[in-house]
Subunit: 349 residues, 2 copies
């Protein structure tokens, strides 16, 4: 049996009894029930994932940035040159990118994974070389990946999740780097949420009207040839190598019983693939934020996951998910550490 | 000249030149301009407050929880007994409340200030005894405070801001505790934003329809006797001692050139008072979140400050503001630490 199939099979339903115990504990804490809003739901989810109430507070968040290049770059869907993917990978490996700054603030590690860069990056301690292909083919012209490539990239993501958990990570955080990857993301979202391309295609890093029209047209055309009911086929046709790896990472985290914080539109489009392959895996995911890319909201709505942050972010790299890490930790900490009415001698309403 | 007047006079306009320098630096960082959304504005604001670009990353956040009781409790506007204010103060001083758990997560100190408790709390290291009055009078029957009490409580807030900054705090965070204080907050918001009581009165800790109707009627009646153009008179008539102290804390932070993170409806209603006394002080404030209380959104809109978080919170204590601390720190850190296009050898779009 393949690693992918074994991973899907290993994802367990969250135990109802533990979640009920968490909800009951929440009601005994010295605060009005419901007054911590979304953090109360996150706390119960973390208990379900940990299989115990209260859940331990995640202390070792690990961000994995999956990097890949995109053949669709040739369609002029972005003003950024393709070499920027490699340049930004080098900058991340040197600690100079936005995700590194946030990671230092929240105490997270950053691991950069070359799963699909067009050129090999210089070796660096933070970088893991797992290249499956030197970029995808142009999704405007035909399938972006072969099925073998997509599965290999999925398994890279599974492996990275397992490695990071093996190294002590107790909270996984998705990141991505890939010039033109919002095009692939919008195509995945349109295909898997059955939306129109125009509804879910956005300006990415900030493109003008003419470029947006071209980007939308490229996606519309690609959607025509899709068999939308086969998620792996959709991934091969219009996805990126980092999308495949992210989907694997999301499944790998769930199989390891570790929560995964989703970043923006790249991550949530990959989550649509992963959830189509294994619906119960979504119980292990937390939406760090909702990006301004329209596909992000569409994907989260489809997944039924509410985002923690909405700060007008559209960077990627894992930046929005990393910013949400202290919220997740606080949610766990409140359930674990706050006094109960009985314990603190506080009168109930 | 009074401490209040000296503090108002000490609040300086943010220097345009430093803010422009911050905006220009933001444009040189290796990311699409605008891609970090609200955090880019916060970063520029922090530079303006610090008077230097990049601003130092705040490393010593300090939460001040101002506690007071309310005569309007007699009108049955809340199901919680009044003694819960004192009980929760004791729990906070012992580290057992939600705000303490979040403070531990984000590395903030918690200082609890008795500015208006109905009974004296037991001494504790985290607690500062600055009682101005043993609770307010019932705002349904007449002025909640005398002018002397309101000014004394404002000056307690100023003093606490100065003390905390003197002890090393470089980011102040507002907190509050006071059973029935959403009633006073809604009255302040209605009066100072010229809204109807029904628009800005909410369910606080979670009250039923009958109690909400009574609460709204109490506020409507009190609003009839107000001279809305005098913010200090409004504060005396319908505010709380903790609202007065919070208003002073907000002015004191601004006078000390330290940013202040606002919590929910109690803090933002106090901010309306402080901003009416000194409009330029609002440049020093950051809205940590928007509470589900309708008055919170109305007050923030009136102040023109966009909230960082919107998590469905309605606890108070400073919990929502404390959760936003890592976002503020990350905003500063990104501007200070991320590589520039030239420095990192990344090609521009």
């Amino acid at each position: 049996m393949s690693l992918l199939q074994r991973t899907v099979d290993a994802v367990e339903r969250l135990p109802d009894a533990v979640i009920e115990e968490a909800d009951a504990r929440q009601a005994r804490l010295t605060k009005p029930l419901g007054s911590m809003g979304m953090l109360e739901d996150i706390a119960s989810q973390l208990c379900g994932i940990a299989g115990t109430c209260p859940a331990p507070v995640p202390q070792h968040p690990a961000i994995a940035v999956f990097a890949g290049d995109h053949g669709v770059h040739a369609q002029r869907v972005t003003p950024w040159p393709q070499e920027v993917t490699l340049q930004m990978v080098a900058s991340m490996a040197a600690g100079g990118a936005v995700v590194n700054a946030i990671a230092r603030q929240v105490g997270a590690t950053v691991t950069v994974v070359d799963v699909g860069l067009a050129s090999a990056p210089a070796p660096a301690p933070m970088l893991r070389e797992r290249n499956v292909a030197r970029g995808t083919a142009d999704l405007a012209e035909g399938p972006a990946m072969t099925r073998a490539q997509a599965v290999a990239a999925l398994e890279v993501g599974i492996d990275i999740a397992r490695e990071l958990v093996g190294e002590g990570a107790d909270l996984l955080v998705t990141g991505d780097m890939g010039i033109a990857n919002t095009t692939a993301s919008a195509a995945l979202v349109a295909a898997l949420t059955r939306s129109e391309a125009a509804e879910v295609t956005g300006r990415g890093t900030g493109i003008d009207d003419a470029m947006l029209a071209r980007k939308t047209a490229v996606i519309e055309k690609a959607l025509c040839r899709l068999e939308r009911s086969d998620p792996l086929a959709v991934l091969c046709e219009v996805g990126g190598l980092e999308h495949a790896a992210l989907a694997g990472f999301l499944l790998g985290g769930a199989a390891e019983r570790v929560p995964v914080v989703l970043d923006g539109v790249i991550a949530v489009s990959a989550a649509l693939v992963a959830s189509a392959l294994c619906p119960r895996a979504a119980d292990y995911w937390i939406a760090g934020h909702v990006s301004v890319e329209p596909g992000a909201r569409a994907a989260l709505d489809h997944l039924g996951i509410a985002p923690l942050l909405d700060l007008g972010l559209r960077l990627g790299e894992g930046s929005g998910a990393a910013l949400a890490v202290p919220l997740v930790q606080s949610a766990a900490r409140i359930l674990a550490e706050v006094a109960t009415f009985d314990g603190a001698g506080v009168t109930r309403a």
